[in-house]
């Protein structure tokens, strides 16, 4: 029979599988691979969308192996439908588990959202009502993911454009309950906080004050776009197609001052710039992380 050429899980070096601290990273885009490999000893980490690496073999795995050899990795799931009412897709969960085992990421995350209903996959992070029933369902799904991967999952707060009439809890209240019941960690997307606060007319600072910061193990920063709602008021769109805005940088620094440095990712998924532009965004986040290097992490205060 043929020899399988791809490296088996154990053959990969397992460096950087442990917590990585206050480091800034970027989305990994294959077009940046040559530039990334050229720069030696770069500080930072890379995040990939898990689904892009769920093919059997080929160039995507060659690229990810090359990246993983010298950098910590964050595996970010986009399609698990943790927030959906249907049972999790067992085949998808198995693929997710194999990726975690193969690439030993430092961070593993998914979204508080859903994207599949019945047989259709909608390729978008769709919103859910915050009720006792959805809370039980989300917790059950997270339990299954954590059982499969044998490690805590980081759950990301969504950006939303509308609300459900039936919601009976605030988003922060819902997320706090999920974290307490399942023991999962949180991925705080500061851009999403800013977008949702604008779109729903509440204060981003109030949201952050109510958010269980001590459970935050990763932060996302990204750019957004502007549209208008039915009344002509500003409606922000989570577009990931440009630089982080000044308002989001300010919120980020407030979060880091209170939480202490945690791995921070610059997300840039469309209209992708040249590598130096993306790297400069990460450097800006790193400067803020370094400035608060001595801050006592909120989590450690609680643990003490």
């Amino acid at each position: 029979m043929s020899t399988i050429k791809s490296a088996p899980p154990a053959a990969l070096p397992l460096r950087f599988a442990t917590p990585i601290g206050g480091v800034a990273g970027t989305s990994f885009k294959p077009e940046h691979l040559p530039a990334i490999l050229e720069a030696k000893n770069r500080r930072g980490f890379f995040e990939v969308h898990a689904e892009n690496y769920m093919g059997a073999g080929g160039p995507p795995h060659r690229a990810l192996e090359a990246i993983r050899r010298d950098h910590p990795l964050s595996l970010h799931g986009v399609c698990m439908s943790i927030g959906g009412p249907r049972p999790l897709d067992k085949a998808h969960l198995a693929r997710f588990r194999s990726l975690v085992a193969r690439y030993q990421p430092a961070l593993v995350s998914e979204h508080l959202a859903w994207s599949t209903h019945e047989t259709s996959f909608f390729n978008d992070l769709l919103p859910l009502p915050y009720t006792a029933a959805t809370l039980a369902c989300v917790c059950d799904h997270i339990d299954q993911v954590q059982e499969a991967t044998r490690r805590p999952l980081l759950l990301e707060n969504p950006s939303t454009y509308l609300a459900f009439r039936e919601s009976s809890m605030r988003e922060t209240e819902f997320i706090r309950a999920v974290a307490e019941r399942t023991g999962c960690g949180l991925l705080l997307d500061v851009n999403n906080v800013f977008i949702s606060a604008t779109n729903h007319g509440y204060s981003a600072l109030d949201y952050l004050a109510d958010f269980p910061l001590s459970r935050v193990e990763e932060i996302h920063l990204a750019g957004h776009a502007e549209q208008a709602d039915d009344e002509g008021d500003l409606l922000l769109i989570d577009s990931h197609d440009g630089p982080v805005t000044d308002a989001v940088w300010k919120l980020y620094e407030i979060v880091i001052r209170r939480r202490g440095p945690v791995p921070t990712l610059i997300e840039w998924d469309s209209k992708i710039p040249d590598w130096p532009v993306l790297q400069a965004e990460a450097a800006a986040a790193q400067a803020i992380l370094d400035r608060h290097h001595s801050a006592v992490p909120a989590g450690e205060r609680h643990a003490a």
Partner: protein, 260 residues
């Protein structure tokens, strides 16, 4: 099994996402009594545009040939009638070539569906499992009396497609942005698609080559494959074709017929 009470939101939220004739679902609202139509439209737009983008990423040559506006209009129909069933977008669009074949505005491009089939095969080869290709030395080591019974194990990425049109030439000319010369679309062409460690390669097969490759890729013995190829094209060159297939990485291994 219907979802439990309190978990019906997805069933109410989802149907209008890909159906512009449906109105905004009743269960959603803007803040402080604001309307939710344009807000819900953000989700409709995200879903539709991202799935059209997914088809454009899988079928770049088709898009270059038709132009962006034509392609996106055609893809929009397809996305609405055949949304993906897998969360893996690189699996999407398997039925797009048949859709193109039946699409009324593409009837004057009868070769377009075959170009799409080549692009779909290209992506399948790209994501196929890794395997070391067969070394040419393995064939040299086989004694002549065993040649006719040889059976080849196909590489997971290897595929062979046949077209009544010049689909390979049209595909190759439109996968990048180089200027396209005039192509006589009426010449039938056959393609071999393979992948080494990194790059997918699409080769045009000589007369008889596709019959030969298809026999071998489906596990028929070399003697039978050669006879079928010679029947299809009397000028068929067995030695050149088997060497070409091995060099392209179409196989991973070989064994001497009779599996018992």
């Amino acid at each position: 099994m219907p979802p439990e009470p309190g978990l019906c939101f997805a069933a109410s939220f989802a149907p209008a996402l890909l159906d512009p004739a449906r109105s905004t679902p009743e269960l959603v609202t803007g803040p402080n009594g604001k309307a939710a139509d344009r807000r819900y439209d953000v989700y409709r737009n995200n879903v539709t545009v991202s799935l059209i983008d997914a088809l454009a990423a899988i079928y770049p040559a088709v898009q270059r040939i038709t132009g962006t506006d034509f392609f996106r209009a055609m893809a929009r129909f397809h996305v609405r009638s055949n949304p993906p069933t897998s969360p893996l977008l690189f699996e999407y669009g398997r039925d797009f070539p048949e859709f193109i074949e039946a699409y009324e505005h593409a009837q004057d491009m009868p070769w377009l569906a075959d170009v799409a089939r080549l692009e779909r095969a290209w992506l399948d080869a790209y994501h196929a499992a890794d395997a070391a290709p067969l070394s040419p030395a393995r064939l040299s080591a086989v004694t002549p009396e065993h040649l006719a019974d040889l059976v080849f194990i196909p590489h997971p990425a290897a595929r062979c497609l046949r077209s009544d049109y010049a689909a390979v030439t049209i595909f190759a000319a439109n996968r990048d942005n180089a200027p396209v010369m005039r192509i006589d679309a009426s010449t039938p062409e056959d393609a071999l698609i393979t992948r080494g460690e990194f790059d997918v390669a699409v080769r045009r097969l000589p007369p008889g080559g596709a019959v030969f490759a298809r026999h071998l890729l489906s596990g028929r013995p070399l003697g039978e494959a050669a006879a079928a190829a010679l029947e299809a094209a009397s000028e068929f060159d067995i030695a050149a074709n088997i060497a070409g297939l091995i060099e392209a990485g179409a196989f991973t291994s070989l064994c001497c017929g009779d599996p018992s």
